[in-house]
């Protein structure tokens, strides 16, 4: 491609490996001035890693980056923003204990510091000015940031990203953490940047958002760029096909339709409410049923899963398993419920412990006769249970931290299956996993269903829900808005209509 003046930034065969997973595997990307460039791909396709390389959070193993024709290799956000590149991420990127103004100008103190002393008054005034320009006049710059809600902190982050008038603004799935008017704020920011002849690199799962704003879209899969297309000459299905890399109906989901579901209710929630996340959720799970919970990630579905397991804060209403009301983790687990968390490294796995320890941790009552617990028996039990999902490992004493993403998820699932759990709550079970292991997990779900287990599967990928679940509930803004039964002609469009 001719290096004409219209190209703002260019990234040539970028590589980044984390141990054995090839996150970014030879990506070449070009961003022209005055365009909003979409970047789409399934979870674990390397989009976020690529952005973190550009923003300077991580260093590429190899590859050349140029902005405005000059070489560009930032070591941190501040160096990146000095070259006009700023980024907004999904997780919290502001520091508790500091005031709003301090957070906004963190790293940029030279604007109001003389001989190492900050002029607090000037800082607050500048912050006031930018906040008003972004329409956030009820946020006080000298107030401590942890007094504000997650969403307000995200808006403050956007002010931080925009006050330097960035030439390249990168947004990584931020819309999922914003409410409706927060999202309008973001769209305004994207339009301003384009109007200033800067450009925006947008990562989003919400295909509507992509089609509404983006001029060009690049599709990534498993760390490589599949294609770069113009938004106009492609529709959603074609885009999705490119993203998934095989025809949508794919053989690896369930084929059976119309299997009868017993009407025996194993789990029921009554008036489950958690302020700010969801309100009076009444759902029933039947024996042997795979119930899907779909919707945008901030629609409260993740929090419902956590509330059922009993690990969400200030939840009212009750969860009834069988005919007994349960409260707290111990009772829930005793009643036979298991929870596979979305954030497996922090909430379900012990990285520095062996695979045997990870699996046995939930099955102690089965293993110990009275008080005595024989290590030999524990090792044998763990060894057998890893066969059901055929975890690839040296031996059972290998540390879980050394395993790949797919194998880690297998261990996390085995941990609950070995316990003989009857009711599963699975939160995005196939997140960040390669396609081969996904197939294994899907047919595990069907095997568990045949054994009479019942499951609630929470996922952001509608394709997965359609392919696996008997019944799908759609959540929007904290309420269950729709219900779909499993049928061959069920499509994503019908579900998405009620999601947005």
């Amino acid at each position: 491609m001719a290096d004409n003046s219209n190209v703002l930034a260019r990234f040539e065969n970028m590589y980044k490996y984390f141990g054995i997973t090839h996150a970014v595997d030879g990506v070449t990307l070009e961003v022209t001035r005055g365009e909003i460039h979409g970047l789409v791909g399934e979870n674990g396709s390397g989009k976020s890693t690529l952005l973190s390389l550009i923003a300077g959070i991580r260093r590429p193993d190899s590859g050349k980056m140029t902005v405005n024709g000059q070489d560009y290799a930032p070591h941190d956000n501040t160096q990146a923003s000095q070259r006009g590149v700023s980024m907004i991420v999904q997780e919290i990127n502001t520091l508790a204990g500091l005031t709003v103004a301090e957070n906004i100008f963190l790293g940029q103190e030279h604007l109001f510091t003389k001989y190492g002393f900050r002029n607090i008054k000037k800082m607050n005034e500048m912050a006031r000015e930018y906040l008003n320009k972004a329409g956030l006049d009820l946020i006080k710059p000298d107030e401590e940031i942890s007094h504000y809600s997650l969403e307000q902190r995200k808006l403050i982050e956007m002010v931080k990203a925009s006050y330097i008038k960035p030439e390249l603004l990168m947004i990584d799935e931020t819309s999922t953490a914003l409410s409706h008017d927060g999202r309008d704020e973001m769209y305004k920011l994207m339009k301003d940047t384009r109007a200033r002849n800067g450009s925006v690199l947008l990562i989003s799962h919400d295909l509507q958002e992509i089609f509404q704003f983006c001029d060009r879209i690049t599709i990534m899969r498993d760390g490589r760029v599949v294609d770069t297309v113009n938004a106009k000459d492609v529709d959603e299905d074609k885009l999705k096909a490119l993203m998934v890399g095989r025809d949508v109906s794919g053989h690896y989901y369930r084929e059976d339709y119309g299997t009868p579901i017993s009407d025996k209710v194993v789990l029921r929630t009554k008036g489950l409410t958690c302020p700010g996340h969801f309100e009076n959720i009444d759902l029933e799970l039947h024996e042997g049923e795979i119930l899907g919970l779909g919707g945008l990630s901030e629609s409260g579905m993740h929090e419902i899963g956590r509330a059922i397991f009993g690990i969400e804060y200030d939840v009212t209403g009750d969860v009834i398993i069988g005919d007994k009301k349960v409260e707290g983790i111990q009772q829930t687990m005793h009643a036979g419920l298991g929870y596979v968390s979305k954030n497996r490294d922090v909430e379900s796995l012990f990285a520095k412990a062996s695979i045997a320890d990870n699996i046995n941790v939930t099955c102690m009552d089965k293993l110990s006769r009275g008080i005595y617990l024989s290590p030999r028996k524990m090792k044998k039990f763990a060894d057998e249970s890893t066969h059901t999902l055929s975890v690839k490992m040296r031996d059972v004493d290998q540390l879980v931290g050394e395993l790949s993403g797919g194998n880690k998820q297998k261990v996390a699932l085995t941990k609950w299956m070995a316990r003989g759990t009857k009711i599963f709550v699975m939160d995005s079970p196939t997140r960040g996993i390669d396609v081969a292991v996904k197939a294994v997990i899907y047919d595990l779900l069907t095997k568990l269903k045949d054994q009479g287990c019942s499951m609630i599967v929470i996922s952001e990928e509608l394709l997965e829900l359609i392919g696996v679940c008997d019944r799908i509930l759609v959540t929007k803004d904290g309420r269950i808005v729709d219900e779909f039964l499993r049928s061959p002609d069920l499509s994503e469009e019908t579900i998405v209509k009620s999601m947005i």
């Binding site: 941190d76 204990g97 963190l106 103190e109």
Partner: protein
């Protein structure tokens, strides 16, 4: 957070002081709380808060460094030796340079190594204490010449304290250094991502703490007229008291400049021990009061919830 609520929180440390004063005044009206007595307590608090101010910078970053007591002692010993030989020109530079050198050693060890700082500091304290015993060969304690004693008397002893507290107040709230210290303490990962050179500012915090330890060493030696060696981890246990004052300050950090509440913390501890003294009891009973008070204060100031992990 409404204005009045914030002012109320800012006044809480002062209320704790008044409460302690009133309780002991009722129990022992005659002996306790005479103006000159209170001035002496403030004077002692001013000396102790020299060390506590420096320690605050390290504690904010979540590090428990027990070597600070030994640094103050050894820099005081070497400073006194130089002072007795040359006078002020010898004392101040020697003790400050020693303290900075020792802080540099402990800081590089604790930042670079992935081992808990508390464990590293135990090893360092053992070595520093053996060094201090070797330095004061054959004498129980090293006396200081009379010319330095002036710094220990009334008006002069307050000046280093006041100056250092003001400097630290400005450093904590006004300077880039203070802001970055809080940022690193809040979340080191995000701080690193926003371009803060974490190791540089951690080292700077240790060096400032070393400087405070040196000044504390000098003023304390002038006040007590001689400096003694420490054995059996005595210098480590002597650091626990200023640490308590720093914990007191962290509890009220959002509402009041921490350096003021460090001084209040030290004054509170002295007030309690003096109150017990006036009642004729062992002043070491004060430890019981300090222990209980700290549990109450930390319990109210931390808002951790059901599943938060506090190791």
């Amino acid at each position: 957070m409404s204005k009045s609520k914030r002012v109320l929180h800012a006044l809480m440390p002062f209320l704790a002081l008044v409460l302690a004063y009133v309780i002991f005044k009722i129990i022992e009206p005659a002996r306790f709380g005479s103006p000159s007595g209170l001035f002496l307590l403030l004077q002692q608090a001013m000396i102790q808060s020299l060390l506590a101010c420096g320690l605050y910078f390290i504690l904010t970053m979540g590090v428990f460094d027990l070597t600070v007591g030994a640094v103050a002692m050894i820099s005081a010993i070497l400073g006194t030796m130089a002072g007795n030989a040359i006078g002020w020109a010898g004392m101040i530079p020697v003790s400050i340079v020693t303290a900075l050198a020792m802080s540099m050693i402990s800081s590089q060890l604790m930042i670079r190594l992935k081992a808990p700082p508390m464990i590293i500091s135990v090893g360092l304290v053992l070595i520093y204490e053996a060094l201090s015993t070797k330095l004061i060969q054959g004498k129980y304690s090293l006396p200081i010449d009379d010319e330095f004693r002036i710094l220990g008397q009334a008006p002069w002893v307050l000046i280093p304290g006041i100056v250092l507290i003001l400097v630290s107040m400005v450093l904590i709230s006004r300077s880039k250094f203070g802001l970055y210290i809080h940022a690193i303490g809040s979340n080191t990962e995000i701080a690193k991502n926003t371009g803060i050179n974490v190791t540089k500012y951690q080292t700077l915090a240790w060096l400032f703490c070393g400087l405070c330890a040196a000044i504390y060493g000098i003023v304390n030696t002038c006040y007590t007229s001689s400096v003694a060696y420490a054995q059996n981890m005595a210098s480590a246990t002597s650091v626990f008291k200023p640490m308590m004052a720093c914990m007191f300050a962290t509890a009220f950090r959002k509402y009041l400049n921490p350096m003021i509440s460090v001084l209040i913390g030290c004054f509170f501890l002295n007030l309690v021990s003096n109150g017990l003294l006036c009642m004729g009891l062992e002043s070491s009973l004060q430890n019981v009061v300090v222990g209980l008070a700290m549990i109450v204060i930390v319990r109210f100031s931390n808002k951790s919830r059901k599943y938060d992990v506090s190791k």
